[in-house]
């Protein structure tokens, strides 16, 4: 990794980039020292591997298709065997391949919803902080209003009005309701950036507001936005899973929440621990690993949080 960075730094020799790569190197060092960060990364790689492998089982035999594949020899939920590593669900679908498919859905939902909400939140936060006055207070009141809404229940009531929501609508709704927290943090950061001399310099040089926001402020708030993205990923995954668990997920996808709903609603939860345990453990662990990643990034951004060993 450090070699790669060294290569980049020799290729581009402008002082700004070499300073940036120096910082990147140092940050990566702090990150690597953090046990939480390492654990989080390892766990996440396992989940990423699961998501990548989710394409394999259906290729081996159509009965391993997580949604439509049914084992003709099985008519109810059976325990783990060589044929089905984690057993089957109530109509004979393979639980292991559902679990792999669930990883793919979790990443898809988590990352796309988080990306969108960070995008909205960062822009609104920057505009509010930079513009100040009426625009600021209007935008922040609006953020407050959305912040007090329980996202899960809002999506629930919308699904009652508009019928079954598909997975992308759910992602969009999660993004639309999860930006206010981000925008508050970014706004605070923008307020302090606005006082710095380089913004004045840009203004004197004749830069437009648009240019100041996107060229000078954005790079400085991006690390913070990235940090908040890890937390938003977890909340998006949890909301989608909870929605699917309550029976309002996209019926065309197999997510971990959906698997839990099936084991709960078909009354198999007391008889089939091989079915009840894996999806819950996966949701909890993926949440935990993104959370640990976030904490480790927090240490990178806020030196006060580092332990003595890392300070040296």
């Amino acid at each position: 990794m450090s070699e790669a960075i060294a290569k980049i730094s020799t290729r581009k020799k402008t002082p700004a980039t070499s300073y940036r790569t120096e910082r990147l190197k140092e940050n990566w060092h702090v990150f690597r020292e953090s046990l939480l960060g390492k654990l989080g990364l390892i766990l996440l790689s396992i989940f990423a591997l699961m998501a990548l492998c989710s394409f394999i089982p259906p290729l081996i035999d159509p009965m391993y298709n997580p949604m439509s594949g049914v084992d003709p020899l099985v008519s109810h939920s059976v325990g783990p065997s060589f044929r089905h590593w984690l057993g089957t669900d109530f109509i004979g679908r393979d639980i292991f391949s559902q679990l792999l498919g669930g990883a793919r859905i979790a990443f898809m939902v988590g990352i796309s919803a988080a990306f969108m909400s960070i995008f909205i939140g960062t822009i609104i936060g920057m505009v509010a902080g930079y513009a100040g006055k009426t625009v600021d207070s209007l935008l922040m009141r609006f953020a407050d209003m959305i912040m007090v809404m329980p996202t899960l229940l809002v999506v629930l009531i919308l699904s009652s009005l508009f019928g079954q929501l598909n997975i992308w609508t759910i992602v969009l709704l999660i993004a639309l309701f999860r930006w206010p927290g981000v925008s508050r943090v970014i706004r605070a950061q923008t307020l302090s950036l606005k006082q710095r001399p380089f913004i004045d310099a840009a203004r004197v040089a004749g830069a437009s507001h648009f240019r100041i926001i996107f060229k000078h402020i954005t790079p400085n708030v991006l690390p913070l936005a990235l940090l908040y993205m890890t937390f938003r990923v977890t909340s998006a995954i949890i909301i989608e899973a909870a929605l699917a668990f309550l029976g309002f997920g996209d019926p065309g996808t197999v997510s971990w929440g959906m698997m839990l709903q099936w084991v709960w609603k078909t009354g198999n939860m007391f008889q089939a621990p091989y079915w009840l345990l894996p999806p819950g453990i996966c949701i909890s662990l993926i949440t935990l690993s993104f959370y640990m990643l976030g904490r480790a990034m927090d240490e990178v951004l806020d030196p006060r949080l580092r332990s003595v060993k890392q300070m040296r």
Binding site: P150, S160, L276
Partner: protein, 325 residues
Amino acid sequence: MEMKKFILKRGIEIVIIFFVILTTLFLLFHMAPGDPISRMIDPTMNPEDAQQLISELGLDQPVWTQYLYYLKNFFTGHFGVSFHYGRPVLEIIGKRLPNTIILFTSSIILSALVGIFMGKIAAWHKGKKTDTFMTVGALVLHTLFLPWLALIFIWVFAYKVGWFPLTGIISAEVWTNPNAGFLLKTLDVLHHMALPLFTLFVIHFGSYLLIMRSSMLETLREDYILTARAKGLEEKTVRNHHAAPNAALPVITSIGLSLAFSISGGAITETVFTWPGIGRELVFSVSNSDYPLAQASFLLIALIVLLSNLVVDVLYAYVDPRIRY
């Protein structure tokens, strides 16, 4: 004086927010595909009753008048008639509301108190085994998936071990027994409440612990802590009387910020444990397309969140005078 002004200001803000929510919901009910009338009147109701209800709710009027009717009906408690139960929504919701409030408030208070207490201990022993154990424990518990944890608790404590009832809020044999006194009935409800409360507690206290811990660590670096120590005060006094009360402030803020999240968790918990509260009624009515009940439950939940936000704000202003000025 300042306190009154502050409460008034926050109160007005909350009224405005609630008004916006009310209006948005009205617009959504009208914009959604399908006939708006069919969403307030049970299609299987006999025509005369339906006609009477339509004129009572103002559904035969132009949209603008309907909106005024809608506001009036909300404030006078006319939410329409539930499709599923066939009874006025107000009556159903009135029964569910206390159950939700009991579970919601007790879970928040319990997890905040324990979180503050344990966060204080963890920060005090920073870097030692106690701290590591508590922090890691809190991190893991806090990220568990709530519905799954609820299912696991039911499976282990109610099904396998049999310490707690599987579902519901009361057991029939206690409540139909004429000899059962008030105490016995209360104990019965508490017995049913134990598992849902414990589930919510396990999920929530971890985040309070982590916030309290980091805030306590920050506070311990303050000059006044040094002063307190220099005065020769006992370590325990410094911890409990000088550091902890100040460090607890961010926890109160975070309670306010996580209220919306907590109420979603409450709805899931109520559903899994079949605890007869508003949250479960909302989930249930949405799956049954029981629109009047869903609408009223949603509005009431939004109102609960807003009012508890106000309570948290007032609490915060009370303990931290800087907020009031």
